[in-house]
Amino acid sequence: MRDRFPFSQASPIGEKGKWSRDSRKLLRWSLGALAMAALPLVHPNPYHLDVLTAALLYALLALGLNLIVGLTGVLHLGYAAFFAIGAYTYGLLNLRAGLAFWPSLVPAAAVAGLFGVGIGLPALRVRGDYLAIVTLGFGEIVRIICTNLEHITGGPNGLLGIAHPTLWLPGRGVVDFSVASAPYYYLTCAAVILAAGLSVRLSRSRIGRAWVAIREDELAASCAGISVLRFKLLAQGCGGAIAGVAGAIFAAKQGTITPDSFDFILSVMVLSMVVLGGLGSIRGAIIGALALGTLPELLRGFEHYRMLLFGLAMILIMRARPQGLFGASEQGAPRGSAAA
């Protein structure tokens, strides 16, 4: 549901065109969603579905990080930590407290979101470049703690035997997702669509405007009445929560989670997806994630060259199209502000 504001009669010619442009956009997205939904029925190859699911999980992460880095301009190099926290929260709730997947989603999101705010509080007092390093530090600290707190987190071997989701379907009874590919595909699709919807709503709201104002010029935003700290924390909380949900889905799908999956490389990959897609752009984050997320599979034969090509791609893209695929290009120099 989109809301359009009534324009006065004195509206210039462009307005009418904008109305149908939005309708066309909605149509395109609906068709895309339908295609995605139909895919497992048309092409039920489990391997391909798994690849897509992984890429979609990346897209979910990218959407979350987009709120922090893309919209608000806070450079975060430790995003994998929230992913880990979500995964471990579900893992621990399931293994220790017997909680099933669906009721664990909210706690996973909440805990990860709280960490986002908690880490943000001290971190945001710090200048832009240093903030990046602090977030990196936190990310690594979380990972190392997960590796070392053996009796809680299972140490380097992680948590095993986490339950898969089960869903009651009319006519089929209770279905266990177990290791089938299609259910997770649909689950992740739904999560991405929800997160995208959330992002759209937020970015078009007073909150989204405040975030972008902070990104563009923190000082001016502050003087315009925006409490910079509060909104940055909000962004980190939201972004963290989304990563938490992604983490829970990941844990439920894998059944086993180890700290190695949540390293700095992952944080960098998600960041690259957001930058590639264009800072702040929601469809950019999704497309960037799908592109970079499926790349490892497309480069199957070039296993060894994968990271090398990835690094080269990052360098070249920054050189050739710094604003990413769908980002706003620099129109006039942005004023110096703390956030990168």
């Binding site: 450079l75 990046a132 800072l279 060259y305 090398l308 990052m314």
Partner: protein, 300 residues
């Protein structure tokens, strides 16, 4: 071993680590001083330096050890210096005007490239580092000091004194310091800032290369993944001493090395790495200007 002896032993170990960190930290701090970039790829340069020294050592055979050592050192310095210069020229200079996020991503990408090139060329497993000097050890009141450690301290000290001389007493050094204070003014005054910046990268890389060689000699094995962790710790050291502050990087490196050495000796070595990160985070939160104060250009 008596408690005092244990302490002195850990001190010696820590100092050795610290000297290596200091050499790498210098590169971070100099580069940040001139272009305000956290050169993520710098840790990999250190790693490349180690591998280059290894390669030179494999090529140069039949010479007395001190000659081999010198050739390895100089060779690694020259090649890494050139590499640092090239990287600046090819990857960072073209995007100097772009937002800093872009430069950071480029640096991260560059670090991936370097890591993986080395992995492809030399393999993913640990490589044994050739013994570039005899394994002599001295007993000194119950504390063992090896030639390795003496060499590390000596080389690091020599290079640091040399750098300090260069920065304080030569025209290049003055130009470097001026550029780090106000790049635009320097450019307007006719100082070849591009060349100065390139030289800064080259110099930092050369020092890191020596650090790599000493690292290899100290630990006996090297791995393409060493750059990331050691680089991060060295960056912590640079921030600890005050980013942009050259003596600060030296002090920061030594302090961090001592902290890590003593920590590993007295506490668990498993949590050793968390140490560095925790120090880094606490530092940035509480005293981001570091021990000796940062030296960065004022931004409008």
């Amino acid at each position: 071993m008596s408690p005092l002896q244990l302490f002195l032993q850990q001190l010696a170990n820590g100092l050795t680590l610290g000297a290596i960190y200091a050499l790498i930290a210098l590169g971070y701090t100099m580069v940040y001083g001139v272009v305000q970039l956290i050169n993520f790829a710098h840790g990999e340069i250190f790693m490349v330096g180690a591998y280059l020294a290894l390669t030179v050592a494999l090529v140069v055979t039949g010479a007395p050890w001190w000659l081999t050592l010198t050739l390895c050192g100089l060779g690694a310095m020259a090649l890494c210096g050139g590499l640092g210069w090239m990287i600046e020229r090819a990857a960072y200079r073209p995007i100097r005007a772009a937002p800093r996020l872009n430069a950071l991503i480029t640096a991260i990408g560059m670090s991936f490239v370097l890591q993986n090139v080395v992995m492809l060329l030399y393999g993913a497993t640990d490589r044994r580092f050739p013994a570039l000097w005899p394994a002599i050890r001295w007993q000194w009141g119950g504390v063992t000091v090896t030639l390795t450690q003496v060499l590390v301290w000596g080389t690091a000290a020599l290079l640091m004194v040399g750098l300090q001389w260069l920065v304080m007493r030569t025209r290049l050094g003055i130009a470097m310091r001026a550029t780090s204070q106000d790049l635009r003014a320097c450019a307007l005054l006719g100082i070849p800032v591009n060349r100065i910046i390139a030289m800064t990268f080259a110099l930092g890389s050369a020092l890191a290369a020596v650090g790599g060689m000493l690292f290899g000699g100290y630990y006996g094995t090297i791995n393409f993944h060493d750059g990331y962790l050691t680089g991060l710790k060295a960056f912590t050291a640079a921030v600890l001493g005050g980013i942009g502050n050259i003596p600060g990087a030296m002090v920061g490196g030594i302090v961090l090395g001592l902290l890590e050495g003593l920590g590993a000796g007295y506490l668990s070595s498993q949590w050793k790495n968390v140490f560095a990160f925790v120090i880094l985070v606490l530092l940035l939160l509480c005293k981001p200007t570091g021990l000796l104060g940062e030296r960065v250009a004022d931004r409008a």
